[in-house]
């Protein structure tokens, strides 16, 4: 009976140790991978794969300051109109059913009176800037820059 118990204890210890090792290795792999993934695959790929994590991080940051949002939020890539391609990411905010449809934020740049630069941010339902049609009921809550 004692032998069986000690055998079971050893097995449990081994499983626990394996789980701890996995968690540690997994955690460091994620930390290393994001920077590498960014360099290899680009902003669009990283935003798509980590949008949930980034969104939770932003909402947690807002919650800690008592400024949480009453609405749905989502992190999507920013598409530059003119330059083309993904230039960053944005957290969009608004009516849950509308936020679901947003695929990207189109950024349109304009200069006026020579000293002012305006970046208009339009949540859109496609990942193309060929025809920009904003999604109503959705706005921008945060702008995110990647360190490449």
């Amino acid at each position: 009976m004692r032998a069986l118990r000690s055998k079971l204890d050893r097995r449990l210890m081994a499983i626990a140790a394996a789980l701890i090792m996995l968690a540690m290795v997994g955690g460091s792999a994620v930390a290393v991978d994001i920077g590498d993934l960014l360099k290899v695959f680009g902003i669009g790929y990283v935003v798509k794969h980590f949008s949930g994590d980034i969104n939770s991080f932003l909402n947690k940051t807002l919650g800690e300051r008592g400024a949480e949002v009453r609405g749905a939020t989502k992190v999507v890539p920013i598409l530059s109109v003119g330059q083309g391609g993904f230039i960053g990411a944005a957290q969009v905010i608004g009516v849950p059913s509308k936020v679901e449809t947003v695929k990207a934020v189109a950024q349109v740049e304009a200069k006026f009176q020579s000293r002012f630069r305006m970046r208009v941010l339009v949540p859109i339902a496609t990942e193309s800037t060929k025809s920009i049609k904003g999604v109503s009921g959705v706005g921008v809550s945060a702008v995110l820059d990647f360190k490449i």
Partner: protein
């Protein structure tokens, strides 16, 4: 002779028909009386304790239906004591003649709550409660309000119609724009640019500035979070329903 025959025929057909009509009327009256009695009986709130694992929860019951579940103790009161307080507030409202149509979701002391149309507090849907229910304070308050309306025999559809469809309870539709300064949370007196904010007209009117919070994620991402606020101070008073639609930078001449 023909007339007499006709009358007899009519009477023989009328009798069972009349009996049926009388029976339906009597049954309808009974149902109506029963429903009325049920509704009258429902206009009383009680509180009870519910054990959930090793935790104690308080339930507010109206007409045999659990309308609110108080999951946490607060302010020196147990969950059951808080449920009793909510039940007492409801009973006061019922005694004053308030019905299902006299409750709404609103804000009191900067928290979302179920209130009477007169503005009296019934229950606060605080952040902890919302988290315990896996939802937001607004949605929790709406659920409580809907339960209350149902328990009092009201029309849920008409109560829900006051809220934007399938939304968070906050109107995010863009009706108006405004350009306001952006200030950094670290240095509230210093403007670091400007932002165009958009949202419902009334809410946009309340926005005084946009607070910028900076944060870093996993050393690969720098986030600038924009919070439309109703006053320029380190304590953020977010104006819900308003978001940023453009950012404006100014190039200094030196």
């Amino acid at each position: 002779m023909k007339r007499h025959r006709l009358r007899l025929v009519l009477r023989s057909e009328e009798a069972p028909l009349l009996r049926r009509v009388a029976m339906i009327a009597a049954l309808s009256a009974l149902v109506l009386i029963g429903a009325g009695a049920g509704l009258l009986a429902a206009a009383e709130a009680t509180a009870r304790t519910r054990s959930w694992g090793d935790r104690e929860e308080g339930e507010v019951v109206v007409g045999g239906m659990v309308v609110m579940r108080i999951r946490t103790a607060a302010g020196g009161y147990s969950a059951t004591q808080r449920a009793e307080e909510v039940a007492a507030r409801l009973n006061k409202a019922f005694r004053e003649g308030l019905t299902w149509n006299d409750f709404r979701v609103g804000e009191q002391n900067r928290e979302t709550a179920v209130l009477t149309t007169r503005g009296d507090l019934i229950a606060t849907a605080d952040r902890f409660h919302a988290q315990a229910n896996g939802t937001t304070p607004t949605l929790l308050a709406q659920a409580w309000d809907t339960n209350l309306v149902q328990a009092l025999g009201g029309q849920v559809a008409s109560a829900a119609a006051t809220q934007p469809a399938a939304s968070s309870g906050v109107d995010w539709e863009r009706q108006d724009d405004k350009i306001v300064p952006i200030f950094s949370i670290g240095t509230p007196g210093v403007s670091i640019g400007a932002a165009r904010v958009s949202g419902p007209k009334v809410e946009v009117g309340r926005v005084k500035a946009v607070a910028q919070i900076e944060a870093e994620w996993k050393n690969v991402l720098r986030a600038r979070i924009y919070v439309p606020v109703s006053s320029i101070s380190t304590k953020l008073e977010r104006v819900q329903g308003v978001s940023v639609s453009a950012l404006i930078d100014y190039n200094l001449p030196f």
